[in-house]
């Protein structure tokens, strides 16, 4: 890029930014690692730059450096951050405090966690404005209400009187955007603002953010791992990997003509070809008319749900949070005994309660969870974790057990050497692979996968999906695949059940479910999945037939 001082419209100019942190690996002396290697970027007034990369790419770290902020023990050790013509790194603590919340504001990934539960929304929205004295309380509140309106929040006049727990996640994310805009900053750092939301809610929030940016002429750094999302809002995109710049260019160039191999991999990551298998004659597991509720609540989380699972095939259950998809898994496994209906396995009914089921039934149904790291005992080695079902279900011990563990590790494409490692030493993808091996060790007929790829980076998730498909071929195991991500569904499912508010609204073979005509909800769900195409957002909003549940 050209010399910044020549450009009059320049807002942010980061030069050779170097960020380091000290890490404390277990059993080793602390060491210094470099998180960001001499990255430079510029941003003009009113423009949006997307920062994209996998976790650990340094995108949030770079974003926060524009406010002089380092999470944890992160230190900015080199380079310059020039904002509005001055190097903010020379301003010291006082200087940072003056620019935070005034010149630069921040929108966090999880607004639900980023709002203080003890204060009303309005008090938090106007706090920065009042602190920096840029407006009186009355003016600031008037501004906030106008912003609530612009972001199409319900009851803009009174929503500020509410506490964070009284407002839904998608609405909170918009309130947080209003909070950032309220002090009329020059720059907003959006840090994965829609990642924690359902697809159908994400599209609304995305549109609201885009409109707000356009109307207020604020500049933005938009951080995300989802290229399709960033393509909708940004003028330019910067691809980062391991704290280094990979590619930087206009949005169209990055998604249509990526010059680097890594960018190309990111752009094309979603597609796995998976030919649909026709359902067999008899399902081995049938869920019939199951209704379930938590506690003695009158609110039924599952209403009259019926699905079938065929040997060696995958049933994907799709829906947004609160639609009852995880509850269905809990009903099948017996963790939540259904109030009505039955689950039949191999032609005989399964006991409703987990405690009443024989060990053999438990073995046949295994689970893998979204958070692999909390699903494993951190004080057990990988070998112990995978070996446990072998001992528990088959009584295999000693050398034979070690041999089987090695075999399983081989199946999940991890070497024998991992057997002595602890979960904390593994990457996110490796942890999930260990969980897969653990469930395979029981030689089950069905593995329930509950959002197993949702917490992973796209490229890693891709690898996990391929592994699952391959294992299905080898072991003839069936999957009940719970997800909110429709791209995943397309790559792995044989049949699909779409759930909405506890009911199955559409069910059948993949080809049939994904072929029009659609019911309104499936249409909303399908049309809400971001596509890597400029202008998709406006088209999708226009073509919608029903509003999302978050509104």
């Amino acid at each position: 890029m050209a010399d910044s001082k020549a450009k009059p419209g320049l807002l942010l100019d980061i030069r050779n930014l170097r960020i380091e942190a000290t890490v404390y690996p277990p059993g080793e002396p602390p060491k210094n690692i470099v998180l960001v290697h001499d990255v430079s970027l510029t941003l003009e007034k009113g423009k949006v730059l997307g920062l994209i990369g996998e976790s650990g790419a340094g995108k949030s770290t770079i974003g926060l450096s524009s406010m002089g902020y380092g999470r944890g023990g992160v230190r900015i050790t080199g380079g310059e951050v020039i904002l509005n013509g001055r190097d903010i790194l020379k301003g010291g603590k006082e200087g940072f405090r003056k620019l935070r919340g005034r010149e630069v504001c921040y929108v966090a990934q999880s607004a639900a966690a980023a709002f203080n539960p003890a204060h009303k929304l309005m008090d938090q929205v106007v706090e920065a404005t009042l602190l920096h004295g840029t407006a009186t309380r009355a003016e600031a509140e008037k501004r906030a209400v106008a912003l609530f309106k612009k972001l199409s929040l319900p009851n803009p006049e009174t929503i500020g009187e509410r506490f964070p727990h009284q407002v839904s996640g998608g609405q909170l994310q918009r309130v947080m955007t209003a909070m950032a805009l309220c002090s009329e900053p020059d720059l907003i750092v959006f840090d994965e603002p829609t990642t924690a939301l359902d697809v159908t809610t994400q599209i609304d929030v995305l549109a609201a953010i885009k409109d707000a940016i356009r109307d207020t002429h604020v500049a933005a750094l938009y951080i995300t791992h989802d290229l399709a999302v960033v393509a909708q809002v940004s003028d330019e995109i910067m691809v980062l990997r391991h704290g280094r710049l990979v590619e930087w260019g206009g949005t169209r160039q990055i998604i249509k003509e990526p010059r680097q191999e890594y960018t190309n991999a990111l752009v094309s990551v979603h597609e796995i070809e998976h030919a649909e298998q026709k359902p067999g004659t008899t399902p081995f597991l049938s869920v019939k008319n199951v209704t379930a509720a938590y506690g003695r609540s009158h609110i039924k989380v599952l209403k009259n749900v019926s699905v079938d699972i065929y040997p060696g095939q995958t049933l994907a259950v799709v829906g947004e949070s609160g639609s009852g998809k995880s509850t269905l898994a809990r009903a099948i496994t017996g963790l939540l005994p259904p109030e009505e209906g039955t689950v039949t396995f191999d032609g005989r009914p399964l006991a409703n309660r987990l405690a009443d089921r024989p060990k053999e039934d438990l073995r046949q149904l295994q689970m893998i969870y979204q958070m692999a790291d909390v699903a494993m005992n951190p004080r057990q080695t990988v070998g112990t974790i995978i070996g446990r079902p072998l001992e528990f279900y088959f009584g295999i011990r000693g050398k034979e057990r070690d041999r089987r563990v090695a075999e399983l590790l081989d199946k999940i494409e991890m070497g024998k050497g991992f057997s002595d490692r602890y979960p904390a030493e593994l990457s996110g993808g490796q942890k999930q692979r260990v969980c897969i091996a653990r469930s395979l060790a029981a030689k089950p007929k069905l593995i329930i996968c509950d959002e197993v790829t949702s917490a992973l980076d796209p490229l890693v998730a891709h690898g996990i999906l391929e592994l699952l498909l391959e294992l299905q071929k080898e072991e003839n195991v069936a999957y009940l695949f719970i997800t909110h991500d429709l791209a995943t569904v397309k790559s792995i499912a044989d049949s699909i059940a779409v759930m909405y508010r506890g009911e199955v609204v559409r069910y059948g073979p993949k080809s049939k479910v994904l072929t029009p005509p659609f019911d309104d909800y499936t249409d909303l769900l399908l049309s809400s999945v971001p596509e890597m195409e400029i202008g998709w957002l406006e088209k999708a909003i226009k073509g919608r037939r029903m509003a999302s549940a978050g509104n």
Partner: protein, 319 residues
């Protein structure tokens, strides 16, 4: 205020009353299994089988235990705690003045200790892991680690003997002017403050540090709030429930656990009264004092529970 909160509060109070009843049973049963009975204790060496039988008849000791329990409980509920055996005085009358003295001492110790502990806790968090934090934690730990009698005697040595600022013996009497009374309790109140300070301070520090990890604390920092305002406005309100709990535990200690300090300073409070009558094996007094201590303990903990319920915005403002 809405109905779920009122329901929760009513539940807590009902539970407290049940607990108190259970404790009254325990106290009564405890004094029953002691060898000997009141008649023997009163007559002592001069007991003859006939006089014992007569006195037992007179005191109703031949009734079954549950009848005596309900008799005693009925008395307690109507404000009649019985008569002290050793002195023959009405227990309720002699306790009233002493309870008042104990509360007076506890009140002034708390007025100093609670805000001091919380402010020190806030300061410790603000300068966490720095020398200020370590100094505060170290001094607080030291003051707790020394036994109360040691602190008491050190205070007496310096303030009463060496510099003669405050009296070493805290005599108070009815109708004593407020200023003199305050001067009399200065040393025991200081000793108590030093004893309870560290616990509350460390709990405040730990509770706030726990909250400092939250995303909303980062939000506040990114608004440009100063470090102390982040703690005061955003961390403290969310750490209040555990802090109230530990404060109430310490207040309870100030009332029921002051025995040693009262004895050192010869302060006419409940603790001394209890110790006196334990040595005299005056069972009715021990029962009465035990019950009052239990009531204080339970009520303060109910207050802590209720305060924590009210401090929770999710309960205060349901969806």
């Amino acid at each position: 205020m809405s109905s779920p909160i009122l329901k929760l509060i009513a539940q807590r109070i009902a539970l407290g009353i049940l607990l108190l009843l259970a404790i009254s049973v325990l106290i009564f049963a405890g004094t029953q299994i002691l060898p000997g009975d009141v008649a023997q204790a009163i007559l002592g060496q001069s007991a003859t089988p006939e006089s014992l039988a007569n006195l037992r008849e007179q005191l109703g000791l031949n009734d079954p235990a549950y009848v005596r329990y309900f008799h005693w409980l009925g008395g307690v509920l109507t404000g009649n705690l019985g008569t002290a055996m050793s002195s023959g005085q009405d227990i309720a009358t002699s306790i009233k003045g002493r309870l008042w003295n104990t509360l007076f001492l506890a009140f002034w110790a708390a007025i100093v200790a609670v805000p001091l502990a919380i402010i020190l806790g806030l300061i410790a968090v603000r300068y966490r892991n720095g020398w200020v934090d370590k100094l505060i934690s170290g001094l607080a730990l030291a003051s707790t680690s020394f036994p109360e009698f040691f602190i008491g005697y050190v205070l007496v040595y310096f303030f009463a003997v060496k510099w003669q600022i405050f009296p070493g013996i805290s005599t108070v009497y009815e109708g004593m002017p407020f200023g003199e009374r305050m001067q009399a309790i200065a040393l025991p109140a200081t000793a108590l403050t030093l004893v309870v300070l560290a616990h509350m301070m460390r709990m405040t520090r730990a509770a706030i540090l726990n909250v400092m990890q939250s995303a909303y604390v980062e939000t506040a920092e990114l608004k440009g709030l100063s470090a102390f305002n982040v703690i005061r406005k955003h961390a403290f309100p969310n750490a209040i429930a555990p802090i109230i709990n530990v404060v109430m535990l310490n207040l309870a200690y100030l009332i029921v656990g002051v025995v040693v300090v009262e004895v050192i300073f010869v302060y006419p409070g409940m603790g001394q009264y209890l110790v006196d009558h334990v040595t005299k094996r005056d069972v009715p007094v021990v029962q009465a004092v035990g019950l009052i201590f239990a009531a204080v303990y339970i009520s303060l903990n109910i207050i802590a529970d209720i305060a924590a319920i009210i401090a929770n915005p999710r309960l205060r403002h349901p969806k």
